[in-house]
């Protein structure tokens, strides 16, 4: 018997093992077939998703929950095109991801072969970088470069497209290098003079705000942030991508700013005299109308990506660097000047913030007889779990409510689609989270519209033994779109009503191998959560029938100024 030659596929798996990959989320197919054979003898776990989009979001969930690079694998053509949404999602949320796609054999490229798509061309605009492998000998270096690019600087998705003949051709594996990246040199530490100037400005500020973005989580800088906020005595707002990086119970925490942000967080930015943006990107959902955003603030902008600086808002003090390195340097600079106890008191500012918090809190109205408000369920879930869970959300009203009402206490406990706003993200992302951190309690908090977009991944959760818990807030429609039609289109509801009783969610869950429950009355909420928490070996779905008329507030209408926050329908 002759031994099987070492091929491109073997080299690919060996390279992935070399990068420390534990799990690949994927779906096989013709062109990627050769790579699935050595997978059988690899220590890498393969989680078989039911759709490549699901595989991609699982890899994103894995990456967001761990900080490690998530890996998704798919075949050519439709496999690759189905990965486009997660790639763009990962690009916009700076999630480290490596996607590996099969491609038709080199000689067939460009011939409209079966399952051919111009994958690297499609990926050009939704990845940090992409590769088409021309020769199996390149595989170790390309994989190593891809992981390096995905995880350093501003993290993001990288795609490796491998033609089938390359996977099949004999090759050798060798220790990879990064010699092939002469132009890639992300700046790590901030400029010392700029850091000094930033501290000067913050120390002299009367109304400073630390505007903290998701990059702080990526940089692993939550401890440095806490130390800096306390030493500087400056309040902290955390963007949607940053929820959890700063404990919500902290005296300096103001919560999330922006379109559906906490009044005090949004208004504190508006009234600030010094705005310190730490790895945030002045997203339109945060700024509202840009020319009316924080009009009196001098801006210190810290970001690892130089292209973010000045993109939306001019920065008086730009600092290019990794959030952790820069905050570390800022802490050191501050420490040289005085002790934390000598921080400026800023009493008028903190009194003002306290007044806003008192007068304009987040609120909702839960009557004992129902209908259930999603906000109430979220608060009960937080209470009954002690907040000790990792939560993923889809996109829309429910996402905003989780972000508003879940009291976050640690980084990487909030997994969501911020930039792209991808409905259907929650369930597959939660599967990736649970696969990465099996000892944690993992919830997908989803809407009915979102759930229907990727619900088949419940089968993945059941068959791969990844016991996530799914909450479907069923308001029988696309709640956020309906809210806009109610507020801005005179209540003319167009294509927003889904059926409230089709599908039957508990039955659907049961059919897919999960335990299904339905709660319709506030009194049923706690028992259902208790029951869900008592099941640890299978996925669980709780359908929560919620008020279909509930709207999400506060709200800054799109394109409006953040000075005009609508606290409820009565303000419109």
């Amino acid at each position: 018997m002759t031994s099987k030659p070492f091929t491109g596929s073997d080299s690919l798996l060996r390279s992935l093992e070399h990068e420390g990959v534990e799990i690949i989320f994927g779906v096989p197919g013709g062109a990627i077939l050769p790579a699935y054979d050595p997978l059988l003898s690899s220590p890498i776990r393969h989680v078989l998703a039911r759709h490549e989009q699901g595989a991609g979001h699982m890899a994103e969930g894995y990456a967001q929950a761990t900080g490690r690079v998530g890996v998704a694998m798919a075949t050519s053509g439709p496999g690759a095109t189905n990965l486009i949404t997660p790639l763009q999602n990962a690009l916009m949320d700076s999630t480290p991801l490596v996607a590996i796609t099969g491609q038709v054999p080199t000689g067939s490229i460009g011939s409209d072969a079966f399952q051919e798509a111009y994958t690297t061309g499609l990926a050009m605009h939704c990845t940090k970088h992409s590769y088409l492998v021309a020769n199996a000998d390149e595989i170790p270096d390309i994989v190593h470069e891809a992981f390096h690019l995905a995880s350093t600087g501003r993290p993001g998705p990288v795609l490796i497209d491998v033609p089938k003949d390359v996977l099949n051709s004999p090759t050798e594996w060798r220790e990879p290098t990064l010699a092939g990246l002469p132009g890639y040199k992300p700046t790590k530490s901030g400029h010392p003079m700029q850091i000094k100037s930033a501290i000067d400005l913050i120390e002299s500020a009367e109304r400073p705000v630390l505007y903290v973005g998701g990059g702080v989580i990526k940089a692993g800088a939550h401890e440095e942030l806490l130390a800096f906020a306390e030493a500087a005595n400056a309040p902290v707002v955390t963007t949607l991508m940053a929820r959890g990086v700063f404990p919500d119970t902290h005296r300096l925490a103001l919560g999330m700013p922006g379109m559906h942000g906490v009044y005090t967080a949004t208004t504190a930015i508006q009234q600030s005299d010094v705005l310190v943006s730490v790895a945030a990107r002045f997203d339109d959902r945060v700024t509202g109308r840009v020319d009316a955003f924080a009009p009196g603030a001098q801006v210190i902008h810290i970001d690892v990506d130089p292209a973010e600086i000045g993109k939306v808002r001019k920065a008086e003090i730009p600092i290019v660097g990794d959030a952790r390195a820069v905050l570390d340097a800022m802490n050191a600079e501050l420490g040289k000047r005085r002790s934390p106890e000598e921080a400026p008191e800023r009493k008028p500012w903190f009194d003002q913030l306290a007044t806003w918090q008192e007068e304009k809190p987040l609120s909702y109205d839960q009557t004992p007889e129902g209908p259930i408000k999603a906000q109430y369920f979220i608060e009960r879930l937080h209470s009954l779990t002690g907040g000790d869970a990792l939560v993923a959300a889809g996109v829309g009203q429910h996402q905003m409510w989780v972000s508003q009402f879940w009291e976050f206490s640690r980084p990487r406990s909030w997994i969501n689609s911020g930039g792209l706003g991808t409905m259907g993200f929650a369930l597959p992302a939660a599967i990736g989270v649970k696969a990465a951190r099996p000892d944690e309690l993992v919830f997908a908090l989803d809407g009915d519209g979102c759930f229907q977009m990727t619900c088949q991944e419940m089968i993945t959760a059941a068959t791969e033994n990844i016991p996530v818990k799914v909450v479907v807030f069923n308001n029988g429609g696309y709640g956020m779109v309906k809210q806009w039609q109610n507020l801005f289109y005179g209540g003319r509801l167009s294509a927003v009503e889904l059926s409230s009783d089709t599908p039957d969610y508990p039955q659907l869950a049961e059919a897919m191998g999960a335990v299904g429950m339905r709660v319709e009355h506030p009194s049923e909420v706690d028992p259902a959560i208790d029951k869900a928490l008592s099941i640890s070996d299978t996925p669980v779905l709780i359908e929560v029938v919620v008020d279909p008329e509930e709207m999400c507030f506060p709200m800054v209408p799109a394109g409006g100024s953040n000075d005009q926050i609508v606290m409820g329908p009565e303000d419109l």
Binding site: H125, K128, A134, L149, G183, Y184, A307, G310
Partner: protein, 168 residues
């Protein structure tokens, strides 16, 4: 406003597409483009002339492309800029002499000849080529091709007087 950018890149498949897509994605028109290898192995230089209101963000976005090594904007006063042109000018035996005389003032070289046309090659600054066209177009341009502009940063204060293709 037109800006000249010189971009040092890795000579790899797809790099030109990434660079040009970066401009088209943001709605900016590339006025001229030239690309070719440099003296360093594996390095190419792309010279772009683009219409854009400001370049700072574009330069940063170009830098984000992994295969881009260096990006420089060349302001007109520090740029050595050249273009090459091949122009086919309509003429008959009677007008041929006049056409040739005009062209020779610009040091344009004849590279093809027929009974109805004469074809010139000409290299020089964009302004030089423009002036040539102003003078030659009355005879009738049959066809014309221009290379993209190429450019390097000036090192010397003397360079302006050494401009190639000058008619002086």
């Amino acid at each position: 406003m037109q800006h000249t950018l010189t971009v040092l890149v890795e000579n790899k498949p797809g790099v030109l597409a990434r660079v040009s897509a970066m401009f088209s994605n943001r709605g900016f028109n590339i006025h001229s483009l030239a690309v070719g290898p440099t003296h360093q192995e594996g390095r190419s230089r792309i010279t772009l002339v683009v219409d854009a209101p400001e370049l700072e963000q574009l330069k940063k976005q170009l830098h984000k492309l992994v295969n881009v090594i260096k990006v420089q904007e060349l302001a007109p006063e520090v740029a050595l800029e050249r273009e090459v042109m091949i122009a086919r000018i309509s003429c008959n035996p009677a007008s041929r002499g006049q056409v040739r005389d005009t062209a020779s003032l610009f040091e344009a070289r004849v590279i093809d000849l027929s009974s109805s046309s004469i074809t010139f090659e000409l290299a020089g600054t964009p302004e030089h080529l423009g002036t040539f066209l102003d003078h030659i177009s009355p005879y009738g341009i049959v066809d014309l091709v221009k290379s993209g502009r190429i450019a390097l940063r000036k090192e010397s204060e003397l360079t302006p007087t050494m401009s190639a293709g000058s008619s002086a």
